[in-house]
Amino acid sequence: MALIHFNEAGFDKALQSDKLMMVDFWATWCGPCKMLTPVMEQLAREYEGKDVIIGKVDVDEETPLAQRYGVMSVPTVIFFRDGKEIERKVGAMPPAAYSTVLDANL
């Protein structure tokens, strides 16, 4: 599955599914977010066909979503399961930091 760019409605719909979710909260003005973009794209390709939804939320366009989850620094990657946050990682990290969490929860 390709990387999904969520708006609030799409995000909430995905949240209600029974799939694991990994969401990158980012902003256009943030260098570390740009660094993370190819990593997220790579992970989306690697996990194609698995039971996981990988997406991004632009905190400037979807401010209420960022506020709902108390995102105070970008990038912040939050993992969800059954509608609830199970883990978050602040700052851009190498791919393994995210795949470890995905593998542990799939």
């Binding site: 003005w29 260098g31 660094m35 960022a66 620094s73 700052g91 851009a92 791919p95």
Partner: protein, 285 residues
């Protein structure tokens, strides 16, 4: 934009490394903050640099920079926020931008700043190192700017412009801090809160705030590049400037004593050459 080699730091080590890599035909970008943050810039007179006695630190820096520029070294002012190895490439984030390189040379100088109590605990929950990145998330909120770098007053003005209620904290009020930004003198700092930051304590004075922007001249090596081996605050590097991460080299004050120009220039030369060789070898594979 992609470079062969990206050098972080524009002191004697960084510029020497950049020059040597250019001589070997590599494209080089040097990224550094304000020259005023450079330890050498503050030296009134340097008398032990062979053949060029009596110059001020700033004069030496100017000569080094001009020499590097003449060989085609590109330079950019900014704060590097992270280095990420991906395959045999590196992504480097610089403020709101990102660059790519085949090798990275760390010439950061000494980062003397120890972490403040509460800093690591509240990172991403009120503590930020990047006004450009996170400022907009603090619109209409109270933020404290801890000004440890020369460009911090401008960053404080940027945050104010975004709509943050800014208090500036430093050892002394910088001359070019905007007049209507309140200043609190503070050296001994502690960040406190519960789920997120609520207070910055500065020399015993409590400043209620939702965010604390810690603006140092550069990030600590291990924050810049997670997994980088350090010892007592210095980067562990061998005689070739190699760190424990393939493709990442280090030179100058950030590798340890003595903190001297000649040593930095020499280590920069070695790191520049070895980084160029490293690239040639990885390309052959």
């Amino acid at each position: 934009m992609s470079y062969d080699i990206l050098v972080i730091g524009a002191g004697p080590a960084g510029l020497s490394a950049a020059l040597q890599a250019r001589v070997r035909g590599k494209s080089v970008l040097v990224v550094a903050g304000d020259d005023r943050d450079n330890a050498l810039y503050k030296a009134h007179q340097v008398d032990n640099y062979l053949g060029l006695p009596g110059l001020t630190g700033a004069e030496l820096l100017d000569r080094f920079a001009a020499h590097a520029r003449e060989t085609g070294v590109e330079r950019r002012t900014g704060r590097v926020l992270g280095v990420m190895p991906v395959g045999d490439r590196f992504y480097v984030s610089i403020d709101s931008d990102m660059k790519e390189a085949g090798a990275v040379i760390l010439a950061l100088g000494v980062s003397r700043g120890k972490k403040y109590p509460g800093e690591a605990e509240f990172l991403g929950r009120g503590v930020s190192y990047c006004a450009t990145c996170d400022g907009a998330l603090y619109r209409e909120k109270r933020v404290a700017v801890v000004g440890l770098s020369a460009d911090a007053p401008e960053e404080a003005a940027f945050l104010k412009q975004l709509g943050c209620q800014v208090t500036y904290v430093a050892a002394k009020r910088p001359e070019h801090l905007e007049n209507d930004i309140p200043f609190v003198k503070g050296v001994k700092l502690e960040i406190r809160g519960e789920k997120a930051v609520t207070v910055l304590e500065a020399d015993g004075e409590e400043i209620p705030c939702d965010g604390v922007f810690l603006l140092r001249p550069s990030l600590a090596p291990a924050d810049l590049l997670p997994g980088l081996e350090t010892d007592g605050g210095y980067i562990t590097a061998d005689r070739d400037g190699r760190t424990n991460i393939p493709g990442v080299f280090a030179a100058g004050d950030c590798t340890g004593l003595p903190l001297q120009v000649s040593k930095a220039v020499g280590e920069g030369l070695v790191a520049g050459l070895r980084a160029a060789e490293y690239l040639d070898q990885t390309r052959q594979k």
